[in-house]
């Protein structure tokens, strides 16, 4: 097992872990916006920057994003070196300028001593921090309905041609993963909307609750061996049915 030193504390790392995991294990808090346990690390927000060095590096250190740097044995990690702290502050200051009205960004900035941005606040405030989680989760489930468009300062998340995305299945994964909850959607018993697209819901044949969009059911039909009948009932009713079956079985066993 790899052993590392994080801000002076020895920590053991799981095989294949990235530094960020080890840092959190050590009880050190580090802000992150683009990291998510379910997704490949991406390294875009730059908040998780740390200094790493080794005894044999003679005091030389390099700055890396901890979400993507492997937790190698013998690494000495600092999350609080002056340049790391300063760079993190500049990044947060810039994010606050981009998202001046966003509570999460305001909180992160305040936690790092920034009440107001030193730069020009965005004349068109947005809540999107461009963490890319939404597009990556959509890629991850295999839909890729949305993407980042435009380079540089004009970058944004959008469906193709800014029109209702034909591929979107209305699963809401993007909206749910968004750290600032800035992807609007509506969902009700009959209808769901997201990205300007409207979806019809599938109702549970047991309880009648709308639990999934038709497009979702169609998308998963046959995938990974899922039969169409799987979507006849909602998760809750499935669980209930299972529990009943189980209690029947155990009751039978006890008899």
């Amino acid at each position: 097992m790899n052993t590392l030193i994080v801000n002076g504390r020895h920590v053991k790392a799981r095989e294949g872990a990235m530094l960020l995991e080890v840092i959190r294990q050590a009880g050190v808090s580090l802000p992150t916006l683009c990291d998510h346990a379910a997704l490949e690390p991406w390294g875009g927000c730059r908040l998780c920057l740390v200094d790493v060095t080794r005894n044999e590096w003679d005091g030389w250190a390099k700055m890396v994003v901890s979400c993507m740097f492997p937790a190698e044995d013998g690494l000495i990690v600092r999350t609080d070196s002056p340049r790391v702290v300063e760079t993190r502050k500049v990044v947060l200051d810039l994010l606050l300028a981009r998202c001046p009205d966003t509570p999460l960004v305001q909180k992160l900035a305040r936690d790092h001593g920034i009440e107001q941005t030193s730069y020009q606040p965005n004349p068109e405030p947005t809540d999107c921090v461009l963490c890319g989680l939404c597009t990556r989760v959509c890629d991850h489930i295999g839909v890729s309905a949305i993407a980042t468009v435009n380079r540089g300062a004009g970058r944004e998340v959008a469906p193709p041609f800014h029109e209702a995305p034909p591929d979107c299945i209305g699963c809401l994964a993007c909206a749910e993963i968004c750290p600032t909850s800035c992807i609007p959607f509506t969902t009700s018993d009959s209808k769901r909307t997201i990205w300007g697209k409207a979806f019809e819901m599938v109702r549970c044949t047991q309880c009648g609750r709308a639990f999934i969009t038709k497009e979702q059911a169609a998308f998963y039909d046959g995938r990974n061996g899922v039969p169409a009948s799987y979507f006849d009932t909602c998760d809750e009713c499935k669980r209930r049915a299972q529990a009943q079956q189980f209690s029947r079985l155990s009751a039978g066993a006890g008899r």
Binding site: G44, R46, V90, L94, Y119, Q120, R155
Partner: protein, 635 residues
């Protein structure tokens, strides 16, 4: 016919040379992109037609050929006569009969078509005597302008693939790498990484499938060295790639060509086809059993696509966006396989290194920067163009001897090297030798060899702003410091040039710059602050003038600058009146003229037009001061 052994290769070269020697007289018409834009295709056509009509091939052994870019595009279309070496500039189709009648038939020189040395005002006959050419040492560009890039035989006659033959017939892959190591060759595309070290790492990396890639993205605005090489001598690029593939054990390669370079694509594709037919590319190269083939990949068009990880993503068919990587491409690059990526010029150097040997290459240059380097010299110099020089040449030699000095003999102010994320060096650096280390120490970089010369009428704050405005569009926007940092830097600079600078701006700029250097994901964001930091380092007083006095010392920032006529110096020539686009100048012929401040848009056209230097500029704030009864320079 396929070449399948050393003996066959030698005889192919002998035949090609014999054929070339049969051409008693050669007329070389430059058909690089620059000259084509000036109409050289028509010139070449006119020559071909006349030569044919007059039966000159049979009677005097006269042939014509279309070559690649000489680098002297500004004077194009260029025509060189061989063997005499006479160079004609700005040639038009109507000059063709005259050239054949006089120069070819009688040996008479047509003076009006010669290049005139601006220093001596004398015409120069032979191109080898023109300072622009005379002072160059060409390695990567050795055959450009000499060979017909669409004719493999012509290239063979000029030594193409001699390096490849030496590598394949006489050296093991390790020995090839050792030769490149001795040459000291470093990457010509940016960071200047030792080429041999990269190759060795890829050779040692485990994996069956390996790649060699050629970076022909050339996204720097104004740069065109890689284009010239790919268009003008595609076989030099192929030869390098094949040698590199042999050295690292790769069997597949890609040439990533910027989408705006259609001629390069055509010439490369043709060269590949011809090389395959002769057994120089593809299966069982030169009968040695070594297989290697290459494909062309058309670039996505963005500057950032030239960055290593973005380029590989782009070839993989994904969005050309940089990826954070803590493994080297030589271990895991294209399709996660060991990959060597080198610049076009680097690859073009490789063949020469193998042909003439590492020590030959290492004998040129400085201690740590060996060989020669291509530069594109642009801006306020008399001779702009593409040049190749030994490393360690001084900036002064480049700007004054090759470039012919500053346009209109104005004072030199700065030279920007290294492309958009390079830096600006002041006069005090003119005598420093140009190599990787010196440029980096001075706060700039080699980059791909761009050089923009600036005269005294250049505002360094405005220059930094210009590069920021380029980079803010080219940042991919993936990471926060680069995307938001560039945006905010530009906000600050827009304020500075508009007279809204505030105390503390310089400190805010420096803090942002440091954050971007340390925090950005890729080299674009890390190096983007260079133009900012180098101008702050050498021209800090200009920033102070903008902020504290609301003044642009160079008189460039319009919002800060006003113009007026000095009555004693005005002879009433009316030139300024004609130049002014805003009708802000009045005055009768032969009488003193006046600029009306309310109408003047501070474009400076009158200042440039005035033959007697009777117009001066001064800080606009003085106008307001004068209007409110204070002291000021305004009339």
């Amino acid at each position: 016919m396929r070449i399948d052994s050393k003996a066959q290769f030698d005889s192919a070269v002998r035949n090609a040379k014999k054929a070339a020697a049969g051409r008693k007289l050669d007329i070389l018409v430059c058909c690089g992109t620059g000259c084509l834009a000036n109409g050289s295709a028509k010139v070449a056509e006119a020559f071909a037609k006349e030569v044919e009509a007059r039966g000159l091939a049979a009677s005097v052994g006269l042939f014509t050929k279309k070559t690649g870019c000489h680098g002297f595009c500004e004077r194009g279309p260029l025509v060189v006569l061989k063997p005499s070496g006479v160079l004609y500039t700005k040639v038009k189709p109507e000059h063709v009969p005259e050239i054949l009648d006089k120069t070819v038939a009688k040996g008479e020189i047509i003076t009006k078509l010669l290049y005139k040395n601006p220093a001596t005002k004398k015409p120069v006959e032979q191109y080898t005597e023109i300072p622009f050419y005379k002072n160059q040492t060409r390695v990567a560009m050795r055959n450009i302008g000499q060979v017909d890039p669409t004719d493999l035989e012509d290239s063979l006659a000029h030594g193409a693939y001699a390096g490849l033959a030496r590598a394949l017939f006489h050296k093991t892959p390790e020995e090839v790498i050792a030769e490149v190591e001795v040459s000291g060759l470093r990457g010509r595309g940016g960071a200047g990484f030792l080429t041999a070290r990269k190759w060795r790492a890829a050779r040692k990396a485990s994996g069956e499938r390996k790649f060699v890639l050629c970076n022909g993205d050339e996204g720097d605005p104004g740069a065109f060295k890689d284009r010239s090489i790919m268009e003008g001598d595609p076989h030099a690029v192929l030869e390098g790639l094949i040698i590199g593939a042999y050295a690292v054990g790769a069997h597949e390669g890609f040439i990533y060509v910027r989408d705006e370079y259609p001629l390069a694509v055509v010439h490369l594709a043709l060269a590949m086809e011809q090389a395959r037919q002769r057994g120089l590319l593809g299966k069982n190269i030169l009968g040695t059993g070594f297989d290697f083939d290459v494909k062309i990949s058309r670039g996505g068009g963005a500057f950032v696509c030239g960055e290593s990880s973005a380029l590989m993503r782009s070839i993989e068919g994904k969005t050309g966006e940089p990826r954070q990587k803590y493994t080297h491409a030589t271990d895991r690059g294209l399709f996660e396989c060991p990959t060597v990526l080198n610049n076009v010029e680097t690859w073009a150097d490789v063949g020469a290194v193998l042909e003439h040997g590492g020590p030959w290459f290492a004998a040129m240059g400085t201690e740590k920067s060996k060989g020669t380097k291509a530069f594109s010299l642009v801006g306020k110099v008399k001779n702009t163009g593409l040049i190749e020089l030994p490393m360690g040449t001084t900036l002064r030699h480049i700007i004054y001897d090759i470039g012919g000095g500053i346009l209109d003999d104005r004072p030199f102010k700065a030279v920007q090297t290294g492309g958009p994320s390079g830096g600006c060096l002041p006069e005090s650096h003119l005598d420093s030798p140009v190599d990787y280390e010196k440029l980096t120490e001075a706060g700039s970089m080699m980059g791909s060899g761009g050089m923009i010369v600036m005269d005294d009428r250049t505002c360094m704050v405005d220059v930094a702003r210009y590069f920021l405005s380029f980079l803010v569009e080219e940042s991919c926007g993936k990471c926060t410091p680069c995307r938001e940092g560039l945006k905010q830097l530009l906000v600050i600079y827009d304020g500075l040039v508009a007279g809204r600078g505030k105390p503390g701006d310089v400190e805010r700029i420096e803090r942002l710059a440091a954050g971007m250097q340390l925090g950005s994901l890729c080299e674009l964001g890390k190096s983007a602050p260079n133009p900012v930091l180098s101008t702050l380092r050498y021209f800090r007083e200009e920033y102070q003038a903008h902020i504290e006095q609301r003044a642009c010392p160079a008189g460039i920032c319009r919002d800060l600058t006003a113009y007026e006529i000095i009555p004693e110096d005005c002879n009433g020539c009316h030139a300024c009146f004609r130049a002014c686009p805003a009708d802000a100048i009045t005055g009768e012929s032969k009488k003193v003229h006046t600029i009306h401040q309310g109408k003047c848009i501070s474009c400076g056209a009158c200042y440039t037009a005035c033959p007697t230097d009777a117009i001066r500029f001064f800080p606009k704030v003085a106008l307001a001061a004068a209007a409110s009864g204070g002291q000021g320079g305004a009339s």
